[in-house]
Symmetry: C2
Subunit: 154 residues, 2 copies
């Protein structure tokens, strides 16, 4: 396993590739005296049509969530308040991002190992997913995940 | 104009009709030691496929947002942190709801006048919309809106 790629300095103006197809996407922003709006045109910004929307919130900061890959499900994550760190891992390389801005979205393709941690107490992570919930879509064992990735690569 | 229908006491277990086709929808909740998750299956819970996702945040509490109707665009709103009051108005009846819980979603059909106000300082309002942004889809004049509603009813 290589060391995680550092990602903290410059936020993407529009888009930044991470590992294994994951991408940070800068949402379109509109700011004025009445507040801020950050928007994603889903058909243009994402390679999937969302079927499910969920919000993760009230996570104790010591807790780690995720720690799985999806076989087929794509996800798009936006931390709408507070902050959370997301680690994505394609089986050989890793990238770590701090989502701390509602105008920053993270696209996570299928078959990428993902972990979320260091939730701030006020963090809310909004997620759009390409599939309905399906327990069979989860790969929860990291060794199995790495084996599947190697099989894919052969 | 009738007085707004009060809505504050009992939150819906699953769904509650408001005015003009607007509905409050209780999202599926999963809570454990690792935090809370609130989820909507978009194909089942909503009568539209989302094409746009946006987050409204950093709104000064004195500000009022919205104050328009959409001709064709459906919306689904979830206040992922903090709270905001939403007024929906079908031209003859009104309903007012306080969105203060990430497991509470508000479906707003087209041709319903909507206003959002009393944003808490930490409020983030996540919105799924059925259409890409289109200035021509907005009705920004309340009198025009009421006239269009009456034409529809004839």
């Amino acid at each position: 396993m290589n060391r995680p790629k550092a990602w903290s300095a410059d936020r993407p103006e529009r888009e930044q590739a991470l590992v294994g197809g994951a991408r940070l996407i800068r949402l379109t922003q509109a700011e004025d005296m009445r507040g801020s709006l950050a928007a994603a045109e889903l058909g243009k910004d994402l390679p999937f049509a969302p079927k499910r929307f969920f919000v993760v919130h009230g996570v104790p900061s010591a807790e780690v969530r995720g720690e799985h890959a999806h076989r087929e499900c794509h996800q798009f994550m936006v931390c709408t308040s507070g902050s959370v760190t997301v680690l994505v891992d394609d089986g050989s390389d890793r990238a770590e991002v701090r989502l701390d801005d509602p105008s920053l979205g993270l696209y996570v393709p299928p078959m990428l190992w993902g972990t979320q941690y260091a939730y701030s107490s006020d963090a809310a992570l909004a997620v759009l997913a390409s599939h309905d919930y399906d327990p069979a879509d989860y790969v929860r064992d990291y060794d199995v995940f790495v084996r599947l990735k190697r099989q894919d690569a052969e």
